[in-house]
């Protein structure tokens, strides 16, 4: 079951990547990032059966980081929305100065 789980992990990861690249809605991009994180989590959990409990620990940490990230990220989206009245990433380019 390990190998299929890893294949699934790959599939979810690339789907998430595709989403990040092709979507404009910041929130959906965010969701796709979560999807990528979960793909990795799956790989960790699967591998923990073959390498030890640490894999699960990492998943725990990743979840925590994901939670923190979600909080901050969403807050950023809110403040951007306040300013631009949109969450379309093509409508603002704050990463360019």
């Amino acid at each position: 079951m390990l190998i299929p789980a890893l294949y699934l992990s790959v599939a979810l990861f690339v789907i998430g990547t595709l989403g990040v690249i092709v979507r404009r809605n910041a929130i959906i991009i965010f969701l796709c990032i979560e999807l990528q994180l979960n793909a990795v989590n799956l790989a960790f959990v699967a591998l923990s059966r073959y390498t030890g409990i640490e894999g699960q620990l990492y998943v725990f940490f990743v979840m925590t980081v994901a939670a923190a990230e979600a909080a901050v990220g969403l807050a950023i989206i809110i403040s951007i929305f306040r300013h631009y009245e949109t969450v379309d990433v093509d409508k603002f380019n704050l990463l360019k100065w």
């Binding site: 959990v45 923990s48 620990l57 939670a67 923190a68």
Partner: protein, 180 residues
């Protein structure tokens, strides 16, 4: 039995993933995401990671997704139903690159993964199962967390605290009177 369940969960997870990417409204994407998360929790159970499965549902599917939902609703998104999926050549190009990435990853797995990982896997799994029996599903994670990884754990707490503060500061509406 487990294989069947695994296939089922895998199909749902993949479908949910595709749904997230293609969903026409944010709410739809979110719901697809919840489905994916839930089926991943199921797969965790299949891997005997009961505690993770539980918090996957509670924290991820429950708390974090709800946070997303709140934001979507707060910003009143999703009414325009505008297709914000980028079609056309950009989509095709992305598909090629992503597909290639997938191919490379699969190639990597096929090339190195199987034999190397299978060897010795049985003992680890057995030890893990024994530990679950001995300490319980929570104890098996909690034990290293509070011993070997206690510093990382504490730092996690700090990170969460910082994140909360940051979120509050960022999301707080700027008072024009304050003259900031």
């Amino acid at each position: 039995m487990t294989d069947v369940l695994f296939v089922l969960f895998a199909v749902v997870a993949t479908g949910g993933g595709i749904g997230v990417v293609t969903g026409r409204s944010p709410v739809a994407s979110l719901l697809f995401m919840v489905a994916t998360l839930a089926s991943l929790a199921g797969i965790y159970v299949l891997f005997e990671a009961h505690f993770l499965a539980a918090i996957q549902v509670l924290v991820y599917a429950g708390a974090i997704m709800v946070l997303f939902l709140f934001v979507i609703m707060l910003l009143n998104l999703g009414h325009d139903y505008r297709a914000d999926l980028k079609y056309g050549s950009w989509f095709l190009l992305s598909l090629v690159v992503v597909g290639l990435t997938a191919g490379v990853l699969v190639q990597g797995l096929m090339g190195t993964g199987e034999t190397g990982l299978r060897a010795g896997g049985a003992e680890v799994a057995a030890a893990l199962d024994a530990a679950v029996v001995e300490k319980g599903a929570v104890g098996v994670i909690a034990d290293p967390l509070f011993t070997d990884y206690v510093v990382a754990f504490e730092l996690m707490g700090l990170l969460l605290l910082v994140a909360i503060v940051a979120a509050v500061v960022l999301a707080k509406p700027r008072d024009p009177e304050a003259g900031e």
